[in-house]
């Protein structure tokens, strides 16, 4: 099947309404290519989108998909996958969606380690609601709702993931097309929860965390002798206050996903014509 599927098969016929130049274009292209490259097609793929500019991604992609409510995309994705482990499940959303309103679910999705990928388009701002501070905004980032900056340190999603027992943590940059695609692909291939924080600049509301900023500051782990299976090394990198990294920061190669741990190996959509065989035993228990 994969030989026939091209990444454009994952494109819907809706034209994105993102601002010209928005990082989300590149992020989405990489996601579609990663899905096609890993042998998936729209009919076996389920994309769950959050709310925000980033969450519009579900509309522009073609697959089975749901556009959830704000912050709750991860549990939806987990439910989809548990009920049909044969599907390729990808969850996408923004930094506000994932680390603010959805922060609780993020920690638990990491712990749960369902075999799916989670791509966060991190633009360090709320785009769709027109430029308020997000949980990853810098402490002094001035917006209409935080005129002197949020005055609180940003959430560190990578550290949060590592502390919560993540089995795959990566960071990428939407405009580095090949590298981005490769990183998402590795998340898709990972047996478990593949988390990728993608710097996906908002050209309209964020003039600090720009393409130039990321291009100049990101350190590509592939260019140093880095072993992503080394948890101590990962700890050092994710807590590094001076540098930001691109690449796979941590991967537990022995990860056993939730479905395997709970013996979920087949789709649950079949139902018998009547009560399932053996149901009368349930009644006998109450004698």
């Amino acid at each position: 099947m994969s030989s026939q599927v091209r990444f454009t098969d994952f494109k819907s016929d809706k034209q994105p309404t993102w601002c010209p130049g928005c990082g989300d274009f590149g992020t989405m292209n990489g996601m579609m290519k990663a899905l096609a490259e890993t042998g998936n097609d729209p009919d076996n793929t389920f994309v769950v989108a959050g709310i925000g500019c980033s969450g519009k991604i579900g509309t522009y992609m073609h697959s089975y998909a749901i556009h959830g409510v704000h912050g709750r995309a991860l549990p939806v994705g987990a439910g989809v996958k548990m009920a049909n482990p044969e599907l390729e499940v990808m969850v996408a959303g923004g930094d506000g969606d994932g680390y603010s309103i959805g922060a609780g679910h993020f920690v638990h999705a990491v712990r749960r380690n369902v075999d799916m990928s989670y791509v966060v388009m991190d633009n360090r701002i709320y785009g769709l609601t027109k430029g308020q501070a997000s949980p990853t905004s810098r402490e002094d980032f001035e917006t209409a709702t935080t005129p002197e900056g949020p005055k609180q340190p940003p959430v560190n999603p990578l550290a949060l993931a590592l502390a919560s027992g993540a089995t795959f943590i990566a960071q990428s940059f939407s405009s580095d097309a090949l590298r981005h695609q490769e990183i998402v692909q590795r998340a898709v291939e990972h047996d478990g929860f593949g988390f990728v924080n993608v710097f996906s600049p908002c050209v309209t509301f964020n003039d600090v965390d720009t393409y130039d900023y990321f291009r100049d500051s990101l350190v590509d782990l592939d260019e140093e002798d880095y072993d992503p299976t080394d948890r101590e090394a990962a700890k050092e990198r994710v807590l590094d206050a001076d540098k930001e990294y691109m690449g796979v920061l941590y991967q537990d190669e022995d990860s056993v996903p939730y479905e395997a741990q709970h013996g979920l190996d087949s789709p649950m959509h079949e139902v018998d014509d009547g009560a399932p065989e053996g149901a009368m035993d349930l009644v006998r228990e109450f004698y």
Binding site: D43, G68, H269, G274
Partner: protein, 582 residues
């Protein structure tokens, strides 16, 4: 009135009240007697008064009454709490050697049986069996064959090994022998007959869980909350045997979203919670309704608002279920009326959810959830379970529901409002579901005409369901009576038994018990024909009464109970009599 017998054990939470009560209830059921249990409990794990009450008869029993014949009192407070229900000749079993029980005074007209529960238990192998000694004593008081207790003890302690079972049997016999030897038979004037009937004994939460499995539910996600937790506990370890899975989510938001995901995968899926959890689920409820996802959401109501009285009865969530959520979305609301109906309404909820591709609220309440009730096993006849999956398309039929560009139409505008459904994996079915208003393809739209068409399409499902399904209420009493009494949910049992009390007083009524809250039966004709209509419910404002007044444009009288305790049959009869004559 049927010759029934009422028995209770009370003490402090942590005294093993619940399991002791259950052992006796099960023994009675196994001896072919009908049983109806109720619990008084506080929201704490240790300390605080708690009691397990059992009403039993050879005839069917469906409610509690204000009467106690035998009471095992482990604390003095147990006697105080139940004084009003005790009567001349009631027997109180207590351990006078227990420090706290040394000064208790048994009212003159009652029979106090001072049994050294702890001492006898120690003789049998351990003080922990104190309550079982009391059960043996209760057998002596009621001439109930102690062998019936044995099988119940085996069921309860079998896992812990034969020796433990034997010790418990021995403990029970010590209680029996002590009472037989020390007390005069004439003081112990109760006689519990046994029969050859076979009954099962279960509560409403268990029946909901069983109904879910029977209906082919494969996925359950929930977050613990009293009194809904037992649904999850029941399913855990059982649903797996049928290819399903239970997830304990991080909160109710996650629970309903997990359940939604599974439903989108095509699994029959459910979550259960109580009021506070329903509040948290409400945003996603709107998404489920607009995205037309079949899902069963069970609200086992407790007393609110906010954290309210978590361990007390109420039917206060009706308005939330009917109107909760922003905007307007159709919903189905079923309210089981008995433990057996908890089973059948759950099965029906899954069918309606899939037939009409919509969330279905299944609203039970604490009184049903914690009540164990006996039934003939036929009441859960698995052969009678029917499964309706609605309009699911496969690879062959999907072509009929695609555009010329072969795009699938998950929100196709149909006459009955029900669109085709394609499980993910179906070739040619890929589509987007969203909470945004959408067109037939599921794509966002702000087109004014399409908005109206989609709203109308969703509403049409209720209209067509109304035509196709039977929404009749359950009917009791005299169909020709002038006065009509209407109730919903767990009040049915008390109401049915109240009829006998009313008959004694020459009051003739017709009873309609409504298990369908939305859509609901049109009762206009019945209301018009009646001299008086009384609506009975466990809330302060009369939420169902309001709805019915609105439907029928007829003023109704109301009986509202909101002190946290369910209706009792005798009390309800008095209330009805007074309300009708007021």
């Amino acid at each position: 009135m049927p010759a029934d017998f009422n028995w209770a054990i009370g003490g402090e939470a942590g005294d093993g009240i619940d399991s002791t009560g259950k052992i006796f209830a099960q023994a009675l059921s196994r001896a072919g007697r009908h049983v109806f249990t109720s619990k008084d409990f506080a929201s704490r794990i240790r300390g605080g008064y708690t009691a397990y009450k059992v009403r039993t008869s050879v005839d069917r029993v469906q409610s509690v009454v204000d009467r106690l014949d035998v009471l095992i009192a482990l604390t003095p407070r147990t006697i105080d709490e139940n004084l009003e229900e005790l009567h001349e000749g009631s027997v109180i079993i207590y351990d006078g050697e227990r420090t706290t029980m040394q000064d208790v005074e048994i009212p003159d007209e009652m029979v106090g049986l001072d049994v050294p529960l702890k001492g006898l238990a120690e003789e049998a192998g351990g003080a922990i069996m104190r309550n079982v000694v009391a059960l043996g004593a209760a057998c002596a008081v009621t001439s109930f064959p102690i062998e019936n207790l044995d099988s119940s003890l085996k069921k309860r302690f079998g896992d812990k090994g034969q020796a433990i079972v034997e010790n418990n049997k021995e403990a029970a016999r010590k209680g029996l022998d002590y009472v037989t030897e020390e007390y005069d038979e004439d003081d112990l004037g109760y006689d519990l007959d046994t029969t050859d009937n076979d009954y099962v004994l279960l509560n409403g939460d268990e029946a909901i869980g069983m109904g879910a499995i029977a209906a082919g539910c494969k996925f359950y996600a929930g977050y613990p909350i009293t009194p809904a937790t037992d649904v999850m506990t029941y399913l855990t370890g059982r649903i797996e045997r049928f290819g399903g899975h239970v997830v304990q989510a991080e909160d109710e938001l996650a629970a309903i979203n997990l359940a939604l995901g599974a439903a989108r995968s095509g699994a029959r899926s459910m979550t259960a919670t109580s009021g506070p959890g329903i509040d948290l689920m409400t945003e996603t409820f709107g998404l489920i309704a607009t995205s037309e996802t079949p899902l069963v959401i069970c609200d086992v109501m407790r007393s609110g608002p906010s954290t309210g009285m978590p361990t007390k009865q109420e039917q206060g969530d009706l308005n939330t279920l009917l109107h909760g959520g922003h905007g307007e979305v159709p919903r189905f609301i079923l309210a089981p009326t008995t433990v057996a109906e908890c089973f059948w309404k759950t099965v029906e909820a899954f069918n309606l959810a899939e037939q009409y591709q919509t969330p279905v609220y299944l609203t039970s309440d604490l009184a049903l959830a914690v009540t164990e009730q006996t039934f003939e096993p036929d009441a859960f006849d698995m052969d009678a379970v029917e499964i309706e999956r609605g309009n699911v398309v496969d690879e062959e039929s999907i072509g009929d529901h695609q555009t010329e560009q072969e795009q699938f139409k998950p929100h196709e505008l149909t006459e009955d409002g029900v669109s085709p459904r394609a499980f993910p994996g179906t070739a040619g079915g890929a589509h987007m579901s969203t909470g945004l208003e959408h067109d037939e393809l599921g794509r966002r739209t702000e087109d004014t005409e399409m908005r109206v068409k989609q709203v109308d399409k969703r509403d049409r499902k209720v209209a067509t369901a109304r035509e196709r399904e039977d929404w009749s209420p359950r009917e009791f009493g005299n169909p020709d009576a002038e006065n009509l009494v209407v109730s919903w949910g767990s009040n049915e049992g008390a109401l049915v038994e109240a009829l006998a009390f009313l008959e004694e007083d020459g009051v003739d009524v017709r009873v309609l018990s409504v298990p369908y809250i939305f859509p609901r039966p049109d009762l206009s004709e019945e209301f018009e024909a009646a001299e008086e209509v009384v609506v009975v419910e466990c809330n302060a404002t009369g939420q169902f009464a309001d709805v019915l007044e609105h439907d029928t444009l007829t003023r109704v009288k109301r009986i509202n109970k909101y002190n946290g305790v369910r209706f009792k049959a005798d009390e309800l009869a008095t209330d009805i009599k007074e309300t009708l004559s007021a």
